[in-house]
């Protein structure tokens, strides 16, 4: 089984990821096991997926709107967001919306072109699991979570921006200095 980073630890991954064929046709549904289905499969085969044993999760591609699964989240054991290229930053907004607008509390996984140098921001936006691309060492990548010790902005990870935490004296506001 492949390993992933989850909750900042390297763990084995029980989920089997299904992909659309290059021509866009839907993949076959395995009879058992936990599967991570592309959005299109979920939309077409919803009943079949719910009827089978094993947990179901859905992954969104970078252009897919999280609103499409907002009503269905209760069925899922995992939601994943694909980053086709690491410079494609749409998934950060997708995660932010899934967490803060649609209330997704379960595992939120970044998949695709993922490596060490994105982890800090991904984590800020609400991802808690990462399937690194091939060839990356997840153990080494763990250090990335410590790249920065603070952030100015409000995010999923820090719902209150630094300036409001400074007001409360949680952080050094440098007042009067």
């Amino acid at each position: 089984m492949a390993v992933i980073i989850k909750d900042r630890q390297v763990v084995t991954d029980p989920w089997q990821r299904l992909e659309l064929a290059p021509d866009g046709s839907l993949p076959a549904i395995p009879p058992a096991g936990d599967i991570l289905a592309p959005l299109a499969l979920w939309q077409v085969e919803r009943n079949a997926l719910l009827a089978r044993p094993g947990r179901i999760g859905v992954w969104l591609d970078s252009h897919e709107d999280p609103a499409a699964i907002a009503e269905d989240l209760r069925h899922f054991g995992i939601v994943a967001v694909n980053f086709p290229k690491f410079g494609d930053g749409r998934g950060y907004s997708t995660a932010q919306l899934l967490r803060s607008r649609y209330g997704w509390k379960g595992e939120l996984r970044a998949i695709g072109d993922i490596f060490r140098d994105q982890l800090f921001f991904l984590s800020s936006c609400g991802f808690d699991a990462y399937a690194l691309r091939e060839g990356e060492d997840p153990q080494e990548a763990l250090a990335a979570f410590g790249d920065f010790s603070e952030a100015y902005q409000a995010s999923v990870e820090r719902p209150v921006p630094l300036f409001r935490r400074r007001d409360r004296g949680v952080a050094d506001g440098g007042r009067g200095s």
């Binding site: 690491f86 410079g87 494609d88 930053g89 749409r90 950060y92 907004s93 997708t94 932010q96 607008r101 490596f115 140098d117 800090f120 921001f121 991904l122 800020s124 936006c125 790249d147 920065f148 010790s149 603070e150 952030a151 100015y152 902005q153 409000a154 995010s155 990870e157 719902p159 209150v160 921006p161 630094l162 300036f163 409001r164 400074r166 007001d167 952080a171 050094d172 506001g173 440098g174 007042r175 200095s177």
Partner: protein, 605 residues
């Protein structure tokens, strides 16, 4: 809220412990990324976006490192550090860009982490000076001292610097993103030519409680989708009055719409202006408002305490209490025409009685515009320490500004600046050329730009003639990326490539915005007049070879001088009044020239 919070007199922002820690942590992070790249653990493709967001390009001849000068404000110890970096890691000079940054053209990749560490010691960095993220936020170089000030834009720029630094959701945007903030009545920050422009305004519905101030609460006019580059567009106002507490949440709404829906399939169509145009500004505005409905009044809503805290971290200039205009200064102006000529162009009014702002020109003929040697940087730092409270500004016109000079010391400063070669009295005039690094340094260039600027400066070396021509912005870019802002030059020159040859396209009629408030227009002691809104120049016709450019400029000027109705009517006014045809006809006029130009185009096509 007291007005003073929004209209203070700032000098330098001082980092607090967290600001410093984040910059230090960035150095460590980049050092590790560089190490992994050099060890072959990070591919060139993966390293590129990482180094770009630290300002590091691989240029034609060597790497180029772009260091942020946030909102153009520099303390003298920072300038001395830049000089030190130029000496130690570069070839002894730096280039001040049109984006209130400084670029070093020769650092070695493996030295860059050390350079960043050196910068961090003086609260500087190269964060997000490149790459598809929010770039250095720019503003009016007269912020905090202008007589038409509404708010001190430096405070708002710093608030936005913090908000945009390492923004987790908006660090991988479709394309680079430039924000300009303008805090005065006049727009000296070209807010209509940025991805987002923010222009401080007072609530038009309010009235000042003391009866003296002209309006109510402070807010911002929000302009989106302006920009230069290969598709120049004047921005659209999507909110006439956004009350200041909502600034960050409203920006987050704009950014989220852009991050999700901006095009990522074509680098040339990825700027927000293309999205705004495709959606129409009205539709884009609706989407922003719909997104904002979720964010409005949320935790990112700014508080008066935070604005005050950031304002409080700026040092205050220790102005002396002066009675008013200095009598000795007036006498020296009357006695020395050369001094008066310099003062007329290079000295600017100040809101504190007895003070003035001074532009030190980096546009000496024969020197690439914006270039400064390490020795010059040190010398300017000395001048700023001696005459201007230890602080200076970088203008987008690539000059340096001493913002807080006593009028009584202007003469001494002028003499010192003259000895150093910074006193070219040409601010706002034709020879104060704005010019990108071009083909001499930039790997994207179609053509060289610096030799063109030099040739024009040499042609117009008669200062009296340049004064007679009056206010004129001349801008040169080496390619469509428009770093020299040629679209908004009264005369714009663009390097184009035709079958591997360097050609130059000329446009006229561009304008960066209404740079002087109308009540001050035409008043004594108000140089750089500049009326009229932002406008894009129109191309006059087929391109020219490099050696023809000075002649063409001269012909354009001749048409202007022949057609102007008075000395007050500027070049740009005449272009707007008459259109480009008279200029075009004169330049391409004679049959002979038309034929020659056609042959050239055919030969090059």
């Amino acid at each position: 809220m007291q007005a003073s919070i929004f209209a203070g007199k700032t000098a330098m922002y001082r980092y607090d412990e967290i600001d410093q820690r984040l910059v230090d942590e960035r150095v460590v992070q980049f050092r590790d990324q560089t190490r992994r790249f050099l060890a072959g653990k990070l591919s060139e493709d993966d390293f590129r976006p990482l180094r770009l967001r630290n300002g590091l390009y691989i240029q034609r001849y060597a790497p180029m490192l772009r260091v942020a000068i946030p909102y153009g404000l520099l303390a003298t110890r920072q300038l001395r550090t830049l000089a030190h970096i130029a000496r130690k890691w570069d070839r002894g000079y730096g280039h001040f860009s049109t984006r209130q940054n400084i670029q070093f053209n020769w650092p070695k990749l493996e030295d860059v982490p050390d350079i960043l560490a050196e910068l961090a010691k003086v609260q500087m960095h190269a964060i997000q000076t490149s790459g598809n993220s929010v770039r250095n936020i720019t503003t009016d170089h007269f912020a905090g001292i202008a007589r038409d000030e509404i708010v001190d834009s430096f405070v708002w720029c710093e608030l936005l610097r913090q908000w945009s630094t390492f923004h987790p959701e908006f660090s991988y945007l479709p394309r680079k993103f430039k924000i300009a903030v303008n805090g005065a009545e006049a727009d000296r920050a070209a807010t209509f030519l940025h991805d987002v422009g923010l222009h401080a305004v007072r609530d038009p519905r309010g009235t000042g409680s003391d009866g003296a101030s002209p309006g109510g609460e402070i807010g911002f006019r929000v302009i989106v989708g302006g920009g230069m580059g290969r598709t120049p567009i004047i921005g659209h106002v999507i909110n006439e009055f956004l009350p200041w507490p909502h600034l960050l949440t409203y920006l987050e709404a704009i950014f989220r719409v852009y991050n999700r829906y901006g095009r990522r399939d074509n680098i040339h169509k990825a700027r927000i202006k293309i999205l705004v145009k495709a959606r129409t500004p009205e539709k884009f505005r609706e989407e922003v408002e719909a997104e904002w409905a979720h964010l409005k009044d949320g935790p990112s809503t700014l508080t008066a305490e935070e604005v005050r805290r950031v304002e409080g971290r700026f040092t205050r200039p220790a102005y002396g209490k002066l009675a008013g205009d200095d009598a000795g200064h007036a006498a020296r102006l009357a006695a020395e025409p050369a001094f008066a000529a310099w003062a007329r162009r290079n000295v600017h009014p100040h809101k504190v009685p007895g003070y003035a702002a001074v532009t030190l020109s980096l546009k000496k003929t024969g020197v690439p515009p914006g270039d400064a040697t390490a020795d010059q940087m040190d010398a300017v730092a000395d001048l700023a320490d001696r005459y201007s409270l230890g602080e200076l500004r970088v203008s987008h016109e690539q000059n340096l500004i001493l913002a807080d000079v006593r009028q009584s010391e202007l003469h001494a400063l002028w003499q010192a600046a003259k000895a150093l070669g910074f006193a070219t009295p040409n601010i706002g005039l034709l020879t104060n050329i704005i010019c990108c690094p071009g083909g001499d340094f930039c790997s994207l260039a179609n053509a060289k730009s610096i030799p063109v600027a030099q040739a024009i400066q040499e042609r117009f070396d008669d200062l009296d003639y340049v004064y007679d021509i009056g206010e004129l912005d001349l801008n040169i870019s080496g390619c469509m990326n428009s770093c020299g802002h040629h679209h908004v030059g009264h005369i714009g020159i663009l390097g184009v490539d035709k079958n591997g040859e360097e050609w130059y396209q000329i446009s006229i009629g561009g304008n960066q915005g209404r740079t002087t408030p109308s009540p001050l227009l035409g008043k004594e002691g108000v140089p750089q007049s500049g009326g009229g809104g932002a406008a894009l120049g129109k191309v006059i016709g087929p391109s020219f070879a490099r050696e023809q450019i000075p002649d063409v400029i001269e012909q354009l000027i001749r048409v202007y001088l022949g057609r102007r109705e008075s000395e007050e009517e500027r070049f740009i006014d005449v272009v707007w009044r008459l259109g480009i045809d008279p200029f075009k006809e004169h330049v391409y006029g004679s049959h002979h020239q038309r034929q020659a130009s056609r042959n050239r185009s055919l030969a090059a096509a």
